[in-house]
Subunit: 64 residues, 6 copies
């Protein structure tokens, strides 16, 4: 049975991944969501945001 849950996935990571890695990520994450929930690939939307290391911090310090 198809589960209509319309997943919207947003990924933030360090800037630097190329388009081929993004395409592979979109492909594999879509498949993972469908396997886990029973939804259809055409209902899965994925948006990737590249973030500078200087704009990402943990423990009070930026990563770059």
């Amino acid at each position: 049975m198809i589960d209509l849950n319309m997943p919207l996935v947003e990924i933030k990571w360090f800037k630097g991944r190329d388009d081929a890695t993004k395409a592979r990520t979109i492909e594999l994450v879509t498949k993972a969501i469908c396997d886990a929930t029973g939804c259809r690939p055409e209902d899965v939307t994925i948006i990737i945001h590249d973030v500078d290391r200087a704009s990402w911090g943990r423990a009070g310090k930026p990563f770059g």
Copy 2:
């Protein structure tokens, strides 16, 4: 009666819209929110995020 609901609107779309289109979007969406809820324009904040087509996927594939 004024409805103090402080709407914050974030819009993500494909990169490529120019500043005039952004200004027109900000104007019309603000008016739409006020018409629908009774809030004041000065309580509406709108932020637009431009996203590369290579970073946006559906059905397991990027749009560009």
Copy 3:
């Protein structure tokens, strides 16, 4: 000409709007986005997040 820009709109506001107001907001904001950009209504996605006043602050103080 149709502009394929796939707008995704997220709205945050104070909890308390009923489903009819949400439906009216979805209708009017979708129309506003299409009028401003030339996209098709079926390409516009809108997600509304209700936020407690105690979880929303400005000038260092929560609204409720």
Copy 4:
């Protein structure tokens, strides 16, 4: 080689998935991200947001 890209994944979908489905989604999406990018599972963070159908619209109408 390990790719330190610190992915943060946020998933929005219709309310109604149970905790077991969420756990399975977290497991499979983490694996997908690591397979696609070469990062370590412990660098992947996933947050799921449940959204009411009445708060999610497409083509100008709410889904529920």
Copy 5:
């Protein structure tokens, strides 16, 4: 000199913090942002989102 940068801060954390802790967080984070950037408290907006532990994962497993 005042720096008009209009910071919008969104905080996600595990559900369970009470309103007094939220108010204290809003107060201290607003002050921190103003100290770091020179902006005015009335330009700082803060929104807090409570997230279930079952909806937050790291290393492929939910926290609760």
Copy 6:
């Protein structure tokens, strides 16, 4: 007592702050969150998003 609440903080502001201001913001906001909630600095993640003034509106008009 340590409060494991894993705060994730995202800050949006006008583009133009330099890396030193970002580092100072990450340092002070992390400290503010820890002071307010009793969490550990290493559990606090901060992500900063720079936004063009032309993409940020209030009262129906962009800031720049």
